[in-house]
Each structure stands twice: as C-alpha cells, then as structure tokens.
C-alpha cells in the first residue's frame, strides 16, 4: 500500500489547489444532497396530505368505478372493513358512498355530490376536517348532520345550523329526499373543495339511496407509505374473489399527484446532472493540471524503472482519494444541512399564502426535508466514479510518456 501512501502525499503536495477543488466538489455534493432530501421530504408530505384528503394509500373499488364513476358500481362491505383493519401497518380504513344529488334550500338549488362517510374515522384522517371545531363534525353515521364547503354554503344561501333538503335517485329510478342540517363548514381556500364538498353520515346516505351496507370506495390509510406494496398484497388476498372488487394504489387513483412529483423529479435529475457535470469539469481540470506539471517527475520515475501501469494506478488513486475525501466532507455537510432542514425547514409563508395546490393537494408552507440515505449514497458513488473517469485521460497521458519526453517537459 505504498502506492496509496504515495498517492495521498501527492494529493497534498499542492495544498491550495487540493483544498479549492475539495471545497468545490464537497460543496456541490452538499447542495445536491440537501436539495434532494428537501424535495424528498416535501413530496412525502404532499403524498401524505393527498392520500388523506383523497383516496388513501390504497383504495378498494368495484370494477372500474375509478374511471366511470358509475353510481351503480357499489359493493357490500360486510366484514371487509374489519378484516382489512387487522392488517399490520394500516392506520385507518375509510368507507365512502358517493351520491349525485340535488341540494335545495328555500332560495336556491344546486347539483352536488354527497359523500357518505364514517364520521369518526374520517375525522381522524381527513385534513380538510382538521380545522373544524369540536362540535363541528357529523355526530353519527345516520344523523342528519352535514359538513359543507363554505362556497357551496354561500351559493345555497344558507348558514351554519340551517337546514336544507337533498334529493337523489334510487337504483330503481325513484327519487328520495332527506332533510339535512349544516353542522360544520369547511374553508380550505381551494375553490374546488369549498364549492363542492358535502359530507354526510354513511347511514343517512344509505337511507337516501336504499343502499345500506354498501360503499363505492374503501380508502386505506397506512402508517407508513413504504408499506404500500406489502399491504396491497395482503388486502388483495382478503377481497372476495368472485365479486369484481379490486385494490388500487394511490399512484393509479391519483395520477395527478404521482405525475406532478415525477415531473419535478425529472427536472431535478436533469439539473443535478448538469451540476455534477460542471463539478466534473473542475475536477478534470485539477487533475490534468496536476499531472501536467509533474510530467518531468514522471519521466524520472519511469526512467528509474517504474512501470507505466503503476503510474496510471497512482494517478487514479489520487483521483479516488480526492473523490472520496470530497464525498466524505460533502456528505457530512449535506447531512448537517439535511438535519437542519428536517428540524427547522424552510418557511415559505412569506412567499406563499397558506393554501397552495400542487397536484391537487394542499401544500404545507413549511418545506421540511426527509432522510433519503440511499440516494445520498448513490450521489457519493456517482461522484467517485466521475472522479475516476475524470482521471482516466490524465492517467493515460501520464502513462504514455516515455522517460525522455517526460524529463524534457518543463
């Protein structure tokens, strides 16, 4: 391992140059790692909000209800909710019944989509309901309470506490009406939600359509998004095989969110590639210069009997050492930065008001990072490989010199 020690000494011969290069590379690594971890954390947060406000990490439907939204595609839930709830890693199972209906007040009427939910379960999970006061939620599955978006409330010209009537069509075509009362008002800041959300108890919804015990959707919330594939399998196993009921992941159920994240990752990857390239240029330059100025020395070494291969190895080792050192420092710095971003994060509240949609989901104004050690390691590997590749040309050049040429070098 004399070669290693020699390489190490060579690296530090021109301290200034080495330090500048190390700084450049380490700093770039730090920034790239920190930024990625920040995005990672932000996306994880978005997915979390998205699945809680939407259809869960995994959703259970009948046939192609997801695309067609055909009200007739409901299924009897039986003991399915309890069965599924027993699977490890499941935080909550939310049953939902979607009913297109007419909502009428004494002054106005609107076509709406009622969502029949299990109030207790929904309260724990749904982020739109977070801001409701203690008594602002539906009290029981069959109560006449309704939670409505604030814009819809205005359009119907009613207020909190007042009554309205909903009319919907049974499967056999007959119309049925129910009296409801506004128990809570949702004000999310998103026009779509505030203008269309109506939640009622599932029991009451079933009375409206004659569908008790049936749902259109089971939204499954996991304690950890990483458990998705495992839990998906277990859920699929518990579903009745003969009834055309299937489990769907959130990427399929909410492609907007999945794609928004993918798109952002894609552009990030592109930018990171460019950053690494820029860094690589700097490294190549450093290595070339250091090789070029030692040509004379190499000539002497070769003249003294060293093999060209040994020379090339030494240069490659110098590059690896440089790369590993930079990676180490960069990763330490990157970890520090990540740690800060996890604990404190970046508060966008100055730039952005509280409600922001991204991929259809409410965006948390504090950007928090999350650890993605696998990716961080990958970056280290890329950088070290890059330095190796960067060293290839100088190494080859050094090895190709003849002793005489080398010594002639000034």
């Amino acid at each position: 391992m004399d070669l290693v020690r020699l390489a190490w000494k060579n690296v530090w011969r021109n301290r200034r140059r080495t330090i500048i290069t190390l700084t450049a590379v380490a700093f770039s690594i730090m920034l790239v790692q920190a930024l990625h971890n920040l995005s990672f954390g932000v996306y994880a947060g978005m997915v979390d909000s998205g699945v809680r406000a939407g259809t869960g990490h995994i959703a259970v439907y009948r046939n192609n209800y997801l695309e067609s939204r055909d009200e007739n595609l409901h299924f009897r839930v039986g003991s399915l909710i309890d069965d599924i709830s027993q699977i490890d890693g499941i935080e909550q199972v939310l049953p939902r019944l979607y009913i297109p209906a007419l909502a009428q007040s004494s002054r106005e009427s609107r076509g709406v989509m009622l969502i029949g939910v299990d109030p207790d379960r929904e309260r724990q999970v749904n982020p739109f309901l977070k801001k409701l006061p203690e008594d602002g939620m539906i009290r029981a599955s069959d109560s006449r309470d309704a939670v409505i978006g604030v814009r819809l409330l205005d359009e119907l010209q009613i207020r909190l506490g007042q009554k309205f009537v909903v009319t919907a069509q049974n499967e056999d075509g007959t119309l049925h009406s129910e009296l409801l009362r506004v128990r809570g008002v949702v004000s999310s800041g998103m026009k779509d939600i505030d203008g269309s959300l109506i939640l009622i108890g599932r029991g009451r919804a079933a009375l409206l359509t004659g569908n008790s015990g049936s749902v259109h959707e089971l939204a499954v919330i996991l304690t950890n998004a990483g458990l998705e594939s495992e839990v998906h399998r277990q859920i699929a196993a518990k579903l009745p095989q003969d009834q055309d009921i299937l489990a769907v992941s959130w990427e399929e159920a909410m492609p907007n969110l999945a794609n928004a994240i993918k798109l952002d990752y894609a552009s990030q990857k592109f930018i990171f590639m460019i950053i690494l390239l820029i860094v690589a240029i700097g490294v190549i330059n450093t290595l070339l210069m250091s090789v070029m100025e030692r040509m004379r020395e190499f000539g002497v070494i070769l003249a003294l009997g060293s093999k060209p291969m040994t020379l090339r190895c030494m240069i490659m080792l110098e590059a690896v050492i440089l790369g590993l050192l930079a990676a180490a420092i960069g990763t330490v710095l990157g970890s520090l930065a990540t740690w800060y971003l996890v604990a404190v994060g970046i508060d966008l509240a100055d730039f952005v008001p509280e409600t922001l949609e991204f991929g259809g989901v409410v965006f948390d104004p504090i950007m928090r990072a999350d650890w993605d050690p696998v990716w961080m390691f990958r970056i280290v590997v890329y950088v070290v490989c890059l330095t190796l590749i960067a060293a290839a040309y100088p190494a080859i050049k050094a090895g190709r010199t003849t002793p005489v040429e080398g010594m002639r070098h000034h």
């Binding site: 297109p100 209906a101 007419l102 009428q104 007040s105 004494s106 002054r107 106005e108 009427s109 609107r110 076509g111 006449r144 007042q162 009554k163 309205f164 009537v165 009319t167 919907a168 069509q169 075509g173 007959t174 119309l175 009406s177 129910e178 009296l179």
Partner: protein, 251 residues
C-alpha cells in the same frame, strides 16, 4: 300549477274538516266520512285547462299560452300554444320524472334530478314544484292560528325531520266561498321568501276555484309570475296512457 291547485283545494277541504272537528265536535263522525269521501273524490280527479302565464323578471317580460292535462297528482302534460316561437314546446311529468319536448330540434330531453331545482319555462315555478306532490298533511302539522269573520289563517309547521325546505307555510282561506286567498312561504328563520296570491274566484262544474295565481318572490320585488286560467274542466275522460312520450311529441 294544476297539481297545486288541486292540492290547495284538497288541503282546504281537509282543513275545513279539521276546523269543523275542533269547533263543533258533535259532527266528528260525519266529518271523518266526509274526509274519506273527499280523498276518494280527489283520487279520480283529472282536468284539462287553457292557461296564460305571464312572467316578469328584472331583465325581461314574457307571456305564454298553454294547454294542460292532469291526472291525480302523478300525471301532467302541458303544451305551449303561444307565442309562435315556442309553440309545441311541451312538458310531461310521470310521477317524479320529467321530460321536455323541443319542436325546433324535434327532440325529447329527460330532465336530470340535478336540474329539478331549475325554473320551469323561466317562471318562478320550479320543475320541482311540478314534481313534488304536496302532501302537506304528511309533512306538516296544521294549526288554526287566527279566525275572523271572513277568513281562516292556518299555520303549517314542518314535522320533525320532514324533508321540506320551508320553515313555515301560512294559508289564508276565505270562509265564503271556501277558497284559498294567499299562501306565504317562510324560510327557517321565519323570513318570508315567497307569496302566492289567489283571486278571480269562479264556479267550474261543481267546484269553486280561484282562476288566477300570482307567485311573488319576496327578495326580488319587481319579479312575478301570474298564472291565469282561461278554461278549466274537471273529470275529463282520460287515463294514464294519454301521458306518454309519444303524446309529448305529437300535438
């Protein structure tokens, strides 16, 4: 409108019976029989009418003439005869389903439940008004709140959990002849939202009926809908086969 008419008449009769029961208990038994008879009489009710509807909104004024047929409260067919632009536009109701026929494009359109809250032909009467058989006595508790020499004032408060949007409906019923004069609709906070006035009382066959209805939306004082019967005939020979989609299209 037709349906409402009959409903109002029936309710009036029913009210009268109730009043008779409270005021002169000695007739209780007779009254019950009377009620039953009236119910059965209603069950066979059919009618044909020629009406003029005048609608005034803050942006336009329109007058429509139409011919209508009804059977119980479940079947209803109306066809517009004037103005020429809308001649043969027709609406068919069967129970709670409603279709419109549009002669200009020669198509029949089914009115989806979400549009039922919309106004009928642009008036202050909604598709829903047409469709909902007002079983007042089923969804409201009736109570006499005032009586003078000329009229009864009956207050209808929704029963618990009745699926109605109103907070209160008040009928003013003339004593002689026994016809409604005015109906007021209140929201939950007892703000009056709509008034319907009845006048032009005439004898038609063996009934006494107000021939003109005026609907007044309280929050738009310069708007109104006036329905004037020019001709009204009860108990015509008609059955449910008349109320078909084919008849909707053909004049």
């Amino acid at each position: 409108m037709k349906t409402e008419q009959i409903t109002i008449i029936l309710s009036t009769l029913f009210l009268s019976v109730t009043l008779l029961l409270t005021v002169r208990p000695v007739f209780a038994l007779d009254v019950e029989a009377l009620v039953r008879q009236v119910e059965q009489q209603y069950m066979g009710a059919s009618s044909r009418s020629l009406t003029i509807m005048q609608v005034k909104t803050s942006h336009w004024e329109r007058t429509l003439e139409m011919e209508a047929w009804s059977l119980d409260r479940d079947y209803f067919l109306v066809r517009i005869t004037e103005p020429a632009k809308e001649r043969d536009v027709a609406t068919l109701k069967r129970y709670r389903e409603v279709w419109n026929y549009l002669p200009k494009v020669d198509r029949v359109i089914k009115v989806p439940p979400s549009m039922m809250g919309g106004s009928w032909m642009g008036s202050h009467i909604t598709n829903d008004d047409l469709v909902k058989a007002n079983h007042i006595e089923k969804e409201y508790d009736l109570r006499l709140i005032e009586e003078t020499e000329t009229y009864f004032l009956v207050e209808c408060l929704p029963k618990n959990d009745a699926a109605v949007v109103w907070g209160k409906i008040v009928y003013r019923i003339n004593k002689t002849p026994q016809v409604p004069e005015q109906v007021d609709y209140y929201d939950e906070e007892m703000v009056r939202v709509r008034e319907i006035h009845f006048d032009d009382v005439q004898q038609v066959g063996d009934r006494i009926v107000p021939m003109r209805l005026t609907v007044l939306p309280m929050e738009k004082p310069d708007e109104q809908t006036i329905l004037q019967y020019r001709e009204l005939v009860f108990d015509i020979p008609i059955d449910e086969t008349y109320f078909s989609l084919r008849n909707l299209e053909k004049p």
